[in-house]
Each structure stands twice: as structure tokens, then as C-alpha cells.
């Protein structure tokens, strides 16, 4: 037996998916250990060995691959525990990092403070040098500024140095010079140079990304070296890969060089998981949602392509690396109910977290949460939460909702609980609207892929808000991201800025093709360092184009053959079409001049994915899984009714249930409302479908 393991370190739980070469899967969940996340990782691996019944050593010997997602870098930024970082930047512009273009996100809140800059002003050192927008050197670099700065950095125990000069995407010679000098005098410092990290126009985006990369570099390096040492001490000699925010994986060596690519990587694997599960049903366009204890993540995938954004933010600071476009809101089982000054009920974004957690956990929580409402409405079984490991206390939950929600609103307990449930669903539906309707997509054309422990209780009601008629609940829904990690490819993004009229004039073509060659060889080099053979490499080019005078570009995917052959007219056609899809119009007929801004390449190394085991068809009859009945709140009737409860872990391929019903599994509960039916597929996942009204 050989194993593949996906490990997702979250804020509350560390999730594991263990798969063997016969397609069997096993889920493990261990409480996270924020002080040293590798402790929880080792605990989980130990539990797996126990469960299989072999020694840890022989288990490690049989692990072929571990894919790991980590939040150490994100947490480091959010808590301010980053490496001590210094910045060299062009004289005259050392405040761009802190200014953040002067935005205050809360317009009317005069107590709202800007985030502390990662590098304080006295460690942002000006360097005399200047390159203009066309890449011409206007002022030569003053190397003494660097040498004197290094002295100051060493006095200040700087661990990481960032370098970002004006227009370095157009000419990186000054940054390279600076790098050389820093390397020489500070060989152990983590170095982050903007023309390597993100050679892309827009100074603030670049300096912010470069500094974030520097600040988390040493943190990630330390964490990964500790973890890989532990694994190898225990005899692990398989492949070890790390999840990135772009939805791809890479090796520890490479990811340490671009540590910022792990920032916000937490939810990035969910779309990858969705791709595999929806793919099994022949679906290429879908929306993944993942509802945990504190947050709700939603992402949209169209034609098997996840939507990518270069507009990321960590703690309100720009992170312009390409990453999965995931909308996260504060909505989860722990979301707290409150009443605003006007007497309207609100849910979240404040959460009770894992501790004290919802009132019904009995761990001291006083404020009524989403899970408390789910319990009172009968969706959760007090004796079967987390497979009975946690007993839920219904009486205290009732009291909290009665006192803090029902009475102030002059409602019954049940009305209040249903109000909480309903407003949660409306909030989550709004988040999905943002990534669909607001991006020019109609949610009704998409399948909803639902993950997270709390998700399937709400999924059907969310889908009603959006008129979505099909919901897939994967067998591994409670650990969707851990599963996604095993299903991701190696992935690297490269960019070069080249601002010029499009289609290109003849005298620009040579430079253009040299950039293409550069990008392609950068991709080849990195994939060959990851030992990916040529037939498993895939390259995707895209161009950032815009109409002259516009500020925002449109990223247009282009065929590799077209770009090699410089078929500009064809690529322009693609731009007009994409502009039209996004914004409802194009300026093709007006013959408006177009501009090229950036050239991008994504280099993919296709990995061997685990296969899912198919089960034989067992027919529609589900009587073997029926556990009994209990009264559950039925929204369409606005009343309780006794409905069937099924043991999801005993349901087989083809088993069919009509709503209303509850399906309970070890790690999740599915609520099937009256107007839905649900069927177990050949991989043990559930497909829930809205029944069209016959009346």
C-alpha cells in the first residue's frame, strides 16, 4: 500500500486527507497548534499510522507524497510577527509603502487607523538612482547609499532586505547591482528584489508585494526547514509540496524564494478540489463554497478555469501576485447574532471562534451563534455532533437566543432562530453574488460545490436565494482544501511589463519576442528544477491589454502558437470579446487604439492525481441507512415536522432520498429541504437537486 496525504493547517483544525493507491480515502481532523503548527501535523500523521495499524516508521516509508497548505505566513502578517525587514528604494519615494495611495477604507470612521507599515520609515532607505518609464537610466545608482544602508541594517539586526526601484520592470540593472552588493555583505539575509518578485508596472503594488515577500521569507524558511527535518527524521523520503495562493503547488526550495505566494493560500485549494469533484460529473463551471467555524470562502470556476485576481490584500496591504479570486466573509458556525440600534437582526462578522465557541458547546460561550440556531431548528443532532465527540447543550442555546434575540425583537424563540439561519443564508448568498453577478456571470449557470463542516446545512437554502438548482457535496466536503491539495498541479506565474501600442509596431517586435523567450525559459527552468519532464509541462500565455486612456487592463488568454507567430489581430479580437463580456461593450468599431501593459505566462507541471474508487450501483433503496425521525424546522412550512434522518456513511451509490430529510455523516450534516432530492454518487459524494414544481 502506498499513500498520498493532503494536510491543511487552519486556524482551528488541521485537516488531513489520507488516500491509498486503491482510491480509499480517510479523513482526519486534529486541533491546530498555532505556537508550532508542525506539532499538529505530526499528531495527525501518528493517528493515521495507528488507524492503519502499522508503526510510524513503516507508515512514513509508504508515503509517496505529502502536499501541505500552511497559514504561517498569513498569520505572521496578521499578528505582526514578521521578520525584521529593511527596504532600499528610489530617493523621493520612500513612503509609498506606508501611504497605500492614501486610502481610508472606512469613510466616516475618524478613529480608523492605517495598518502599521511592515517596514518603519527609518528602515526604508532612499537610494540615489533613477530609471524612466521607458527604461532609460536618468541617474546612475549611487552604490555608497547601498553600502551605508547595509551597515545600518546590520546594526539593526535586519533579517530580510527588500529592494524596489522606480520602473525596474523596464530596466532591472540597478536592482541587480543592489542585489549583488547586499548578497556580498549580508549573505545570510533573505533578499526580495522587485524585478524578480513581480516585474510589473505600478509602483505601490510592486513595493508592497516585494516587502511582504521579504517579511515572510525567513518565517516560511524556518517553518519549512523544521517540518521537513521532522519528517525526514521519521523516515519520510517521498515528495513534499507546498500549496500556493495561485491554486498550484511547488517544492519547499522554490516556495521559499517567493514566500509571498503562500500568503492567502489557505482557501486556494478549494477550487482545485471542486475541479476534480465537479469534473467527475462532467461539470466545468461551478462555484465552490467552504463554510467553516468563522469564515465563508466562495470562488467561481468557469470552463474549468478558476478566476484569478492580481488585486489581493493582506491586512489592507497590496499583494499583487496572481492568486485565486476568493471572496471571504465573516460567516460560519460561530457567527454571532446581534441587534443593531434600529432593532434589526444581524449575523457576524464577529465570531465566537473555536473557544469559547457557540453557546451550545458549553465552553463558556454566552452570545448566540449560527450553530446554536442550527441546533434549535433541529438541523444539528445534539448527540451526534462531530460523530458524538462533542455533546451539544440545547437548553443553554435556547436560553441565549430567547434572551438576546427573541425578546428584544419581540419574537418567539423559533422565529428568532429561523431569522438567524435565514440572515446567514442571505449574507452567504451575497458573497456568491459578488463573485458571480458582479463579475458578469449568472449564478444559475453554475453548479454549487459545497464544503466545510457547516456548509451542507445551509447549502440548499443558499442555492434558493440564487436560483441555483444543483449542489454537489463531495465525500470529503468537510476537508475540501486538504483534498484540493492532492488534486493540484505544480504552478508558477511570471510577468513582464511592456507598455506599448498594440498591435505592436515593427521596431518593438524583437523586444517582445525576447520577453516571450525569457518567460518561457523561466517556466522551463523552474519546472525542470522540480523534475517535471517536458511532456508534463504546460504553458499558458496571457496579455494585459486596454484601450488607450483606460486605467484598468483586461487579462486576455492567448494561444501559445498565436503569440509565437505574433498574430496580433487575432489576439486583439480576443481582447474586444473579453472586454465586451466583462463590461458589456467594446470599442472595436470605433477603432480605439489599444495598449499592451503586461505579458504573463503560467507554467504548469501536471502531477499524478489520486484516483477515486468507484462503488457499484446499489439502487435507490436507502432503508439500510435510516436512523429514525426527529422534528426539524421546515422553512417552506415555517413549522416543525418529524422527518427522516439518514446515516450518510451507510448510504451507497444510487441511494436516493426525497426532501425533507437530514443526512448525517461523521464530520458534516446535510439538510435536504422539501423541494429537493439527493442521491449518493458512485464516489460517495452527494448530488442534491431542486425539484421543479409540478403544481
Amino acid at each position: 500500500m502506498i499513500f498520498k496525504i493532503g494536510i491543511d493547517v487552519g486556524g482551528t483544525f488541521t485537516d488531513f486527507l489520507l488516500m491509498d493507491n486503491e482510491g480509499n480515502s480517510n479523513i482526519f481532523k486534529v486541533l491546530s497548534s498555532p505556537e508550532d503548527p508542525s506539532i499538529a501535523v505530526m499528531t495527525g500523521l501518528n493517528q493515521m499510522a495507528d488507524k492503519i495499524g502499522i508503526s510510524l516508521a513503516s507508515f512514513f516509508d509508504k508515503i509517496e507524497i505529502i502536499v501541505h497548505g500552511t497559514t504561517v505566513t498569513t498569520n505572521a502578517v496578521l499578528t505582526g510577527n514578521v521578520a525584521k525587514t529593511g527596504l532600499f528604494t528610489t530617493k523621493g519615494f520612500r513612503d509609498a509603502l506606508q501611504m497605500r495611495r492614501g486610502i481610508r477604507e472606512e469613510l466616516y470612521n475618524n478613529k480608523y487607523l492605517p495598518p502599521e507599515p511592515i517596514v518603519p520609515r527609518h528602515l526604508r532607505l532612499p537610494v540615489i538612482e533613477r530609471v524612466d518609464y521607458a527604461g532609460n537610466i536618468v541617474t546612475e545608482i549611487n552604490e555608497n547609499d547601498i553600502i551605508n544602508g547595509i551597515q545600518l541594517f546590520m546594526d539593526q539586526d535586519i533579517e530580510a532586505v527588500a529592494v524596489c526601484f522606480m520602473h525596474s520592470y523596464a530596466n532591472d540593472s540597478h536592482e541587480r547591482k543592489a542585489k549583488e552588493i547586499i548578497r556580498k555583505y549580508m549573505p545570510r539575509a533573505y533578499l526580495s528584489v522587485s524585478s524578480s518578485v513581480l516585474p510589473q508596472i505600478r509602483f505601490y503594488d510592486r513595493v508592497s508585494t516585494t516587502v511582504l515577500n521579504a517579511a515572510v521569507g525567513p518565517i516560511l524558511k524556518k517553518y519549512l526547514s523544521k517540518l521537513t527535518t521532522r519528517l525526514s527524521e521519521n523516515g519520510f523520503s517521498g515528495i513534499f509540496l507546498i500549496m500556493q495562493s495561485n491554486g498550484g503547488v511547488t517544492t519547499p526550495d522554490i516556495v521559499t524564494g517567493l514566500a509571498a505566494s503562500t500568503l492567502l493560500s489557505g482557501p486556494a485549494a478549494a477550487p482545485m478540489a471542486g475541479m476534480a469533484y465537479a469534473g467527475l460529473h462532467g461539470q466545468k463551471s461551478f462555484i465552490t463554497v467552504d463554510m467553516g467555524g468563522t469564515s465563508f470562502d466562495a470562488a467561481l470556476i468557469k470552463d474549468a478555469k478558476p478566476i484569478v485576481t492580481m488585486d489581493g490584500k493582506v491586512d489592507r496591504m497590496a499583494l499583487a501576485l496572481p492568486m485565486m479570486d476568493i471572496k471571504t466573509i465573516g460567516a460560519g458556525g460561530g457567527s454571532i447574532a446581534w441587534i443593531d440600534e434600529g432593532g434589526l437582526l444581524r449575523m457576524g462578522p464577529k465570531s465566537s471562534g473555536a473557544r469559547p465557541g457557540p453557546v451550545c458547546y458549553g465552553l463558556g460561550g454566552k452570545e448566540p451563534c449560527c450553530s446554536d440556531a442550527d441546533l434549535i431548528l433541529g438541523y444539528l443532532d445534539p448527540d451526534f455532533f462531530a460523530a458524538g465527540k462533542i455533546k451539544l447543550n440545547k437548553a443553554v442555546a435556547e436560553k441565549a437566543i430567547q434572551n438576546l434575540v427573541a425578546e428584544p425583537l419581540n419574537m418567539s424563540l423559533i422565529e428568532a432562530a429561523y431569522g438567524m439561519y435565514h440572515i446567514m443564508n442571505v449574507n452567504m448568498a451575497s458573497a456568491i453574488r459578488e463573485i458571480s453577478v458582479q463579475r458578469g456571470f449568472d449564478p444559475r449557470d453554475f453548479l454549487l460545490v459545497c464544503g466545510g463542516g457547516a456548509g451542507p446545512i445551509h447549502a440548499a437554502m443558499i442555492s434558493l436565494e440564487l436560483d441555483i438548482s444543483k449542489i454537489l457535496i463531495p465525500k470529503e466536503s468537510s476537508i475540501l482544501c486538504a483534498a484540493g491539495m492532492l488534486l493540484s498541479d505544480l504552478k508558477h506565474d511570471f510577468v513582464r511589463s511592456f507598455h506599448t501600442q498594440f498591435p505592436l509596431n515593427d521596431n518593438k517586435k524583437q523586444y517582445f519576442s525576447s520577453l516571450i523567450t525569457d518567460l518561457k525559459s523561466a517556466g522551463d527552468t523552474i519546472l525542470s528544477n522540480e523534475h517535471i519532464s517536458e511532456e508534463k509541462r504546460k504553458f499558458q500565455f496571457s496579455l494585459d491589454l486596454r484601450y488607450v486612456g483606460q486605467y484598468h487592463e483586461v487579462c486576455v488568454p492567448v494561444e501559445i502558437d498565436d503569440i509565437m507567430a505574433m498574430k496580433f489581430e487575432k489576439m486583439a479580437k480576443g481582447f474586444h470579446a473579453e472586454h465586451n463580456r466583462l463590461y458589456g461593450y467594446d470599442l472595436k468599431d470605433e477603432k480605439t487604439i489599444m495598449e499592451l501593459v503586461n505579458i504573463r505566462i503560467t507554467a504548469l507541471g501536471i502531477t499524478d492525481k489520486p484516483g477515486f474508487r468507484k462503488e457499484i450501483f446499489a439502487g435507490a433503496d436507502v432503508s439500510q441507512a435510516l436512523k429514525g425521525q426527529r422534528p426539524v424546522f421546515i422553512p417552506s412550512k415555517m413549522a416543525f415536522a418529524p422527518i427522516n434522518i439518514y446515516d450518510g456513511d451507510k448510504m451507497n451509490h444510487g441511494n436516493h432520498v426525497m426532501g425533507p430529510a437530514i443526512i448525517e455523516q461523521k464530520n458534516t450534516t446535510i439538510f435536504v429541504p422539501s423541494m429537493f432530492e439527493i442521491e449518493c454518487d458512485q464516489y460517495g459524494s452527494f448530488m442534491m437537486t431542486k425539484i421543479n414544481h409540478i403544481a
Binding site: F93, E106, E341, E434
Partner: protein, 581 residues
């Protein structure tokens, strides 16, 4: 009726109204072409009921937040029964509810089962609106016609039919083609709004919609009244000045405000303010009302929904003929810029009754627009230079002022241009854009930092238009409770022959030669509280970061810092602080 209200459904409606206006906003952000819309985000989207009462809005900058409803209510009265399904109405006129000539709004009535049920509206600052000078700001204007084309309410679509005659007449009077595109984008935004409201009506029906809208207005009103009740009853005066009318040397115009709080009602009485000026330093009624509401919102719970209910307990007394409510045919383009001085008067009025909520003075806005030809492309360009114009806000209880936030009208919603994009879009070569040392007014909580911007002009046929305030000593951002003033604004042109021209606060400067060095200072905000009480380590941090000088640390904050080691001299500091504090 009250017993029919489903409070949960009310929450749902409120949430949906908000998200529909956000969708409308995003549509505009993506489809408009003028940088003042897609980059500086100078627009607002909103939904209104059949009578023109605001249901919700999404504003990217506060000054536009309450500037749509007055015009819409005028339109509802103006057309009366002649509002048809499929109409689209355009409007900018400041003498019928508009707030600024360049802010052009598009309104679309929403019909359901043949009945007018709601309105969608988008309003945005246009790159040009006709008049004597490109770009909409004309400090030389004496009457509205020198500033802009007046668009009184007019249908560009009637019952679904495009009125090409009207459209062509309007755009024959506006310089740039992109304004036409941007008005089309506003119409697109209204269609998105209409779609959203109709989907809600399909689902819940018209009677539930109406009842719950009334309920939402009522609860919002209740929230505001509750906030006002907490303010002690009384009359609170506040005054402030706008400096220089653009014509008379040394002129200043007084804002005379009395805030009257009576139980759960509040009034802002501007009686006694100076009469309207001959030039463009005048505000239309809607601009003054907007200034009042945005400043008041900063003093109460910011989470209160933005709908008609918010305005019910608030009365604004603003007699006609004052420069805060100028009569036809006054020039008024400077009206939005009076928001800063007006906010000063409001903050001062509240300073003794809400000392923990008010801020010290914000840096006043000094605008500077450059127009000319870019020799690289031979295309003409207009740049409103929001990169250079964002000074600091005032300090407040428990928080320093916000650095480089910009005018209070926008409250940090307007973004500075990115440096590299700035050099690509315009023929300018940036030399410096940094915080300005000692610009922040000292205080226990200091003011926000101002900035210094220097760039070389490479354009041809360049004209500069200054329109602003804050260049006079008296116009510095004021300090509160022992806090000190912020620094002044300054716009300065150093011509290639070495002569230096300092711009007045309202002035057109023509024929600026190529290779002129433009230097602009946007000053800092005022300080709050005694600077001698500011924690020593905070002062040290500002000195180490070269944001406060050694001299200011000693003289203003009473903190003596040794220059070599950058450490605090405790003994000397205690002497200074002990003596004063």
C-alpha cells in the same frame, strides 16, 4: 400595519438594496473611461422609492452621498404624471437640486405591473461639462454659463425611445467624447439597479416591498433620533471662513453656524453667513446639505443605514442669497470645496459637547488641474493631480489624524495615482512624493501628515488651474484642546528661467513652459490635545522616522532627543514637561 412587518424580511431588503447599489457601482467603476471616475471614484449610485426617497446608496466619496435626492425629488415634481416606463432622465442643474455642474446624474424610473415603484440613479463627476474652460473648474466665472452647460431635467429616452435630438444637442456643448461614453456607463448602472429591484419585487410582491421600505425608514430615523438624544440640548455656535473669492485681495467669507439640539431633533442654522460672492466661491443648496450630512455622520454611529430616514430628524436652515445657498445665476463650481470650511464650523460647534467624537481641523483642499498636450503622443491631457493634493486629517480622541488622506469631502475614498502610471499617462517626471516633516499639527494625538510633491512638466501648451484654499496662514487646519495647527498648502511653479510663481488659491495660470518644476504642498491636519502629554516614545518614533524634527520635538512636545544616538534625554525632557505639564 406594524404587525405585518417581518423584521427578518426588513433586514433582507436592506441587505439587498445595499448590494444592488454596490453592483451598480462596480458597473461604473469598470465601464467609465475618465480617470476621475474609474480611478478617483468620484461617483455615487443609489436606489429611491417612487417619491424619490433614498432606499440605499453606494458612495465612494462622501460628498456625493446625499447629493442625489434633492434633484430626484425636483424631477418627480417636474414631470408629475408624465413619468413613463422606459424613460431615462439626465440632469446637472444646480438651481434645481444639483450639487455641482460637473456632477451629471442619470435617473431611471422603475415600473412594476404598470406602476412607478422606484428609481435608480447614478451620478458622477464628468471630465468636461462645457463652459469657458476645459475640465469644469473656472475660477474666472461670474455666472453659471461661464462654468457649464445647464442641463435641467430632460429625457434622453422617452418610453424606451432614444431621443437622438436631445442627446446630440447636449453633447454638442461638451468638449470630450469620453463624457458621452461615461453617461452611457451611468445608464448601464441604472439598468443594473432596475434589474435588481424587479427581481426583489418578483419574489416578494409590491405591498411587502412598500411596507418594509416604510419600516426601514422608520427604524433608521429611530437610530438617528437615539443618537441625537444623547447630545445635550442647547445652541452651539461654530464659525469658519473661506479665504479669497478669486477676485478681491484679502477677502474672506464667513460661515456662521448655530447647531440647535432639541431632544431628538437637530438643526443646522446658517443664518448670518456672508452673502454670495461675485465669483465662483458659492455653494448650491445641495452641496451645503451634503457637507452637513457627511460631517454629522462622522459624529454618530457610522453603521446606520443610509436611507431617507437618516435625514428626517435633521433640519438645515440656509437662507437664499448667502454664499452657502447662492441664487441664480451665480457661479458655484467651488461649492463642493466649501465642504472643508463648513466641516470646520460643524466640528467647532460640537467640540464642547462631543469632545471625544470631533476631530481637529482637516487640511483644506488646494486643487490644481493641468491641461496641455503630451508631446509623446500628440494627444491632449487633463490631470486633476489627486496624487499631490491629499493632506492630513485632524487628530481626534484616541487616534492621530490620518496621513495623506485628502479633503474631508472624500475622507480617504479618493486614491492618489500610482507613480509609474502617472508618468506613463501624463508627460510628467516625478522627483518626489513623500510625507512632509513637521506638517502635522502637534498634539496628544497629532494631526495626519501632509505631503510634498515635486515633478517636472514635459507637456506643451500647458495651462494650470488652481482652485482651493488653505494657502493663507489663517486657513491652516485648526488644533483642538491645546493641539496645534497643521501646515499650510502651497502650489509653486519654478520656470526654466529660474523665476518662481506661487499660485494663488484660485487662479488660471496660462502658458506654463516645458521643463517647469511644479512643487505642491498639501498640509497636515490639526492636533488634538496638549502635545506635552503625548507619550515620549511616540514622539521619539516620529523623530526617528524623520516626520517630526528635533526642534519641534523639543519646542512643541517638550521632548529632548539627542541627535547622535536618537535617544531621549530624560532629564531635559522632564524639565520641559514638568514645567509645562
Amino acid at each position: 400595519m406594524a404587525n405585518k412587518i417581518d423584521k427578518i424580511l426588513a433586514s433582507v431588503f436592506q441587505r439587498r438594496f445595499k448590494s444592488i447599489t454596490e453592483e451598480m457601482g462596480l458597473t461604473l467603476l469598470r465601464t467609465t473611461r475618465s480617470p476621475i471616475l474609474n480611478e478617483a471614484r468620484d461617483f455615487v449610485t443609489g436606489l429611491y422609492d417612487a417619491q424619490g426617497r433614498m432606499l440605499e446608496q453606494t458612495e465612494y466619496i462622501p460628498v456625493l452621498a446625499f447629493a442625489v435626492q434633492p434633484a430626484l425629488q425636483y424631477i418627480v415634481r417636474y414631470f408629475g404624471k408624465n413619468i413613463l416606463d422606459g424613460d431615462v432622465i439626465i440632469h446637472n442643474d444646480v438651481f434645481s437640486g444639483g450639487n455641482q455642474n460637473a456632477d451629471v446624474a442619470v435617473f431611471k424610473p422603475i415600473f412594476y405591473n404598470g406602476r412607478l415603484v422606484a428609481w435608480a440613479a447614478c451620478k458622477g463627476h464628468q471630465a468636461d461639462i462645457g463652459g469657458a474652460v476645459a475640465g469644469g473648474y473656472n475660477p474666472e466665472a461670474r455666472e453659471v454659463w461661464q462654468e457649464a452647460l445647464r442641463i435641467t431635467p430632460v429625457k434622453i429616452y422617452e418610453a424606451g425611445n432614444f431621443r437622438k435630438d436631445v442627446w446630440d444637442m447636449i453633447f454638442a456643448n461638451i468638449r470630450y467624447k469620453i463624457v458621452e461614453e461615461d453617461i452611457k456607463a451611468e445608464m448601464g448602472g441604472c439598468i443594473v439597479g432596475e434589474r435588481g429591484i424587479k427581481a426583489l419585487l418578483e419574489r416578494y410582491g409590491i405591498s411587502k416591498f412598500k411596507e418594509h421600505v416604510e419600516y426601514l425608514f422608520d427604524v433608521t430615523e429611530k437610530m438617528v433620533r437615539k443618537e441625537i438624544e444623547q447630545i445635550p440640548d442647547g445652541t452651539y455656535p461654530g464659525e469658519s471662513y473661506v479665504y479669497y473669492d478669486g477676485i478681491h485681495e484679502g477677502s474672506k467669507m464667513k460661515i456662521n453656524l448655530n447647531v440647535v439640539v432639541n431632544d431628538d431633533k437637530i438643526s443646522f442654522d446658517y443664518s448670518g453667513s456672508d452673502p454670495q460672492t461675485q465669483g465662483f466661491v458659492n455653494a448650491p443648496l445641495a452641496a451645503t446639505a451634503s457637507a452637513v450630512l457627511l460631517t454629522f455622520l462622522m459624529l454618530i454611529n457610522p453603521d446606520i443605514p443610509h436611507n431617507d430616514g437618516i435625514m428626517r430628524p435633521i433640519q438645515i436652515i440656509n437662507p437664499k442669497g448667502s454664499f452657502l445657498n447662492a441664487e441664480y445665476p451665480a457661479a458655484t463650481t467651488f461649492g463642493n470645496s466649501i465642504t472643508g470650511p463648513n466641516a470646520d464650523a460643524i466640528m467647532k460647534a460640537f467640540s464642547n459637547i462631543l469632545p471625544k467624537k470631533v476631530t481637529a481641523g482637516w487640511n483644506r483642499f488646494l486643487g490644481f488641474t493641468l491641461t496641455g498636450k503630451d508631446p509623446r503622443s500628440n494627444r491632449s491631457y487633463v490631470d486633476i493631480l489627486f496624487l499631490a493634493l491629499k493632506g492630513g486629517s485632524g487628530g481626534t480622541y484616541m487616534a492621530d489624524g490620518y496621513d495623506h488622506i485628502g479633503l474631508i469631502n472624500c475622507a480617504g475614498g479618493i486614491l492618489a495615482q500610482d507613480y509609474e502610471m502617472f508618468e506613463i499617462q501624463d508627460p510628467h517626471f516625478l522627483v518626489k512624493h513623500e510625507y512632509l516633516k513637521d506638517s502635522a499639527g502637534p498634539g496628544l494625538w497629532r494631526g495626519g501628515l501632509g505631503i510634498e510633491t515635486i515633478f517636472e512638466i514635459y507637456g506643451e501648451n500647458v495651462t494650470g488651474i488652481a482652485f482651493g484654499d488653505g494657502v493663507e496662514e489663517e486657513a491652516r487646519a485648526f488644533g483642538l484642546f491645546g493641539g496645534q495647527e497643521g501646515s499650510i498648502n502651497k502650489a509653486e511653479l519654478k520656470y526654466p528661467d529660474g523665476t518662481v510663481k506661487v499660485a494663488r488659491s484660485k487662479e488660471i495660470i496660462r502658458e506654463i513652459p516645458k521643463n517647469t518644476l511644479f512643487k505642491n504642498i498639501a498640509g497636515g491636519g490639526g492636533g488634538y490635545g496638549d502635545p506635552l502629554l503625548r507619550p515620549v516614545d511616540k514622539v521619539l518614533e516620529d523623530v526617528r522616522n524623520e516626520l517630526v524634527s528635533y526642534k519641534s520635538a523639543q519646542n512643541d512636545y517638550g521632548v529632548v532627543i539627542d541627535e547622535g544616538s536618537v535617544t531621549v534625554n530624560k532629564e531635559e525632557t522632564e524639565k520641559l514637561r514638568g514645567r509645562n505639564g
